[in-house]
């Protein structure tokens, strides 16, 4: 009571306001997490004998995931992780962040029809429902009847079977297109905060475009870049939409970890093993988030 709280409400009222939120966090976040953690040590399934009498199997589910003799085989956990890593690098870090930065810089301190158009289209790609987007892309990329191959064909270029011969590349391009809007918007608004006088001064001393980017814009944007990278990394790591495009195939070549989890838990109904994968995924997410927080904190200290 001695301590003066800076808030509007007293401690008791504040606690009362917290209760509903805490209730939902416990029911929808903490309880499922504990439950999944528990399930990951059982052989629980939805069908078959293990559904009625699940047994405690210790670390067997985890041992099976990290069975290094098989782990890089198509469809196994290790190969899924490797595919996911390439997917995140390609579509989030290079694709979305790279495209976002390029577009933001290209329209830096510019106005006009072209800018409005690009921004509107990017935001549209971002907000259209996933199923619709997946269907459009499927119709776009289809080998025989897809729009893309019709265009390529009429130009006399080859007609590759995108989803079959280049499945990972296809979903990387798809996800770049799908999510670039966030980075574009974030970087654009970050650029707005930089005082124009900095650039004007640099112009006076005759700095090149690259020098201005490297020595003025980038250092001032570092925080935003970091925030952007970590957010899109986490989102992309967990994204499931490519499933609607390729189903994880052909031959598991686009089986991201999220798809692997889904297949295990809901196609084969192996909830125990599926939970083990979910726990590992959660730990990876946690590690990524920790890395991000540490970097942010370090930046604040040095700034």
């Amino acid at each position: 009571m001695e301590e003066r709280s800076a808030g509007v409400f007293s401690g008791k009222v504040g606690a009362a306001f917290l209760i509903p939120a805490l209730f939902f966090i416990v029911v929808f976040l903490i309880f499922p997490f504990v439950w999944i953690f528990y399930l990951s040590f059982t052989n629980q399934t939805l069908t078959g004998a293990a559904a009625a009498n699940p047994q405690f199997v210790g670390l067997a589910n985890y041992a099976r995931l990290f069975d290094f003799e098989r782990w890089m085989r198509a469809g196994e956990f290790g190969s899924s992780l490797w595919i996911t890593t390439r997917f995140v690098l390609g579509s989030a870090l290079i694709g979305q962040a790279g495209l976002g930065m390029s577009v933001a810089l290209a329209f830096y301190r510019r106005r006009g029809f072209l800018r409005e158009m690009v921004y509107t289209l990017a935001v549209l790609a971002w907000i259209i429902p996933e199923v619709v987007v997946a269907f459009c892309w499927w119709a776009f990329l289809d080998w025989r009847s897809g729009t893309l191959n019709h265009i390529l064909g009429s130009l006399g270029l080859g007609q590759p079977d995108w989803l079959f011969d280049h499945p990972l590349l296809s979903i990387i391009i798809f996800n770049t297109w799908r999510g670039a809007a966030f980075s574009i918007l974030l970087f654009s608004s970050a650029l707005e905060t930089i005082p124009p006088s900095y650039i004007e001064t640099a112009d006076v001393v005759g700095a090149s475009a690259w020098q201005k980017f490297r020595d003025i814009l980038l250092p001032m944007l570092r925080g935003h870049v970091l925030t952007d990278l970590i957010l899109i990394t986490l989102w992309t790591f967990n994204v499931f939409t490519p499933f609607l495009l390729t189903g994880g195939g052909p031959v598991f070549r686009t089986q991201l970890v999220s798809i692997y989890t889904y297949r295990t838990a809901f196609k084969f109904f192996e909830f125990g093993k599926g939970s083990a994968i979910a726990v590992v995924m959660m730990l990876i997410n946690l590690a990524l988030a920790m890395g991000y927080l540490t970097m942010l904190r370090r930046r604040r200290v040095t700034a």
Partner: protein
């Protein structure tokens, strides 16, 4: 005072009338039954929708109304794959929900029963089930489709057989004599080579890979494996055969067709919607020979081509063993049967009415009406195949040769491993030997060392 009395009396009368009305409404309690199947008007299994909506549902509702019951039946069409439907059922039943009456593949029964998701019919609807007139018209072998460990979980809808369908026009183009019936794999492959030389794009398509699910196991892997002399399961020993010369022969057949000689289109087996694509390719004359179930003949081809074109353009042949007498049980030709049916939901709120609907659908009159819409091998011995001599010929030639899948809860997982094994071969990811070793390893892990048989390969 006497003015108030009539008013009270009339109020009393009105209340009485309302009361009786209310009472009769209560007696006519409205019951809604829901049912579902993999069937869509104008799409997959369209005939089923036609039969249900124009015959079964209206006449059943009428019959119920005559008995003084107000029953409405609602059909929910499901357009996804069999695998997705199974997923839906497991999740629905797992949380105590789901439709009252639903179409069900017989081989799913063991794993659903073991999980406590299904119950025997007579436990759900009581004595009425045991007293049903239909049972004595369903042969025991057919009843077994929807039974497990001596209990009956559903009424079958029919059984099926598998064979090679071929395009007469393409055979003519390649100068192959008809009627055509290969007696060994070599003859079958020679025909495929001949078709290829004549410029046919895809001479022979036989299912492989995981994306086609059970269609790979039944129409693909089993047809080759049985031809090589083995079943997946040794019924005498009660064990799974996980490694054998026959499995290797089967995989080598796939290897020849898809990898070595390109007689089939491996791509179609690896993409998501490959089965539909194979149907279209056959319709468009790009596939010459397709190994499929009779469902392809009576449902898919009718939808894709119409009956007239189908009868003119398509013929069928039995799947030969590797060489005469080398097939399963020493047979010259092989096939395998599955079967689907209808089950009741243990969670239904109206078990009696749901059972009455199921029994009504399976009555002789309803099944005769069905045969007029789609002639097929009926489950009732008092309902003949109506007006399709080809269907009748298939049934007569192949039913004596047929076999079934083991009705065991672990079957679905092992079947998936078999699909994966064929996928590894046709995608070129593994050699037949490596794929068989990986299969043996996975199945042994599933059922335990004591439940598998390894027959050494010389």
């Amino acid at each position: 005072m006497f003015k108030v009395k009539p008013l009270l009396t009339s109020l009393f009368v009105v209340a009485m009338v309302l009361g009786t009305l209310g009472g009769s409404v209560m007696a006519q309690e409205e019951i809604t039954l829901t049912m579902t199947c993999r069937c869509v008007a104008g799409g997959v299994n369209n005939n089923l929708v036609v039969w249900l909506t124009t015959y079964v549902i209206p006449t059943f509702e009428e019959m119920m109304a005559e008995q003084g019951k107000n029953v409405t039946v609602e059909l929910v069409e499901f357009g996804g794959s069999d695998e997705q439907l199974k997923e839906q059922y497991a999740l629905d039943l797992g949380v105590g929900g789901g439709y009252d009456v639903f179409a069900f593949d017989g081989f799913w029964i063991p794993e659903f029963v073991e999980a406590g998701l299904l119950q025997p019919l007579n436990q759900i609807a009581g004595e009425a089930v045991d007293e049903w007139e239909g049972w004595e018209h369903i042969p025991p072998g057919i009843q077994a489709i929807m039974s497990y460990r001596g209990e009956v979980y559903g009424i079958p809808a029919g059984t099926d057989v598998r064979e090679i369908f071929y395009r007469r026009d393409l055979f003519e183009q390649a100068g192959i004599e008809m009627p055509w019936q290969p007696t060994s794999w070599d003859e079958l492959l020679d025909t495929a080579r001949q078709l290829k030389d004549a410029g046919i794009e895809i001479p022979l398509q036989i299912n492989a890979g995981t994306s086609m699910g059970e269609a790979t196991t039944m129409q693909g892997y089993f047809m080759v494996l049985l031809g090589a002399g083995d079943h997946m399961y040794d019924f005498d020993e009660g064990k799974w055969i996980v490694s054998s010369p026959a499995i290797l022969d089967a995989l080598n057949f796939y290897y020849t067709v898809y990898v070595e000689e390109g007689l089939g289109d491996a791509r179609m087996q690896l993409v998501e919607d490959g089965r539909n694509r194979s149907f279209e390719a056959f319709r468009d004359g790009r596939i010459a020979m397709l190994v499929e179930g009779d469902w392809f003949w009576r449902s898919v081809l009718v939808r894709e081509m119409g009956v007239e074109d189908r009868n003119a353009l398509v013929d069928w042949a039995m799947m030969p063993a590797r060489e005469p007498g080398a097939g399963y049980r020493g047979q010259d030709f092989v096939t395998i049967s599955g079967g689907t049916g209808w089950v009741l939901n243990p969670n239904t709120e109206h078990p009696q009415e749901a059972w009455e609907l199921l029994a009504y659908m399976s009555s002789r009159d309803s099944q005769r009406a069905w045969e007029l819409i789609q002639p097929r091998i009926n489950f009732r011995d008092d309902v003949p195949v109506a007006g399709d001599p080809v269907m009748t010929a298939m049934a007569e030639a192949l039913l004596p040769l047929t076999t079934v899948r083991p009705m065991l809860p672990e079957y679905a997982q092992i079947s998936y491993e078999a699909q994966l094994m064929t996928e590894r071969v046709v995608s070129g990811e593994m050699t037949p030997e490596e794929a068989m070793a990986a299969y043996a390893e996975a199945v042994t892990e599933l059922v335990g060392e004591e439940n598998v048989i390894v027959i050494p390969v010389e």
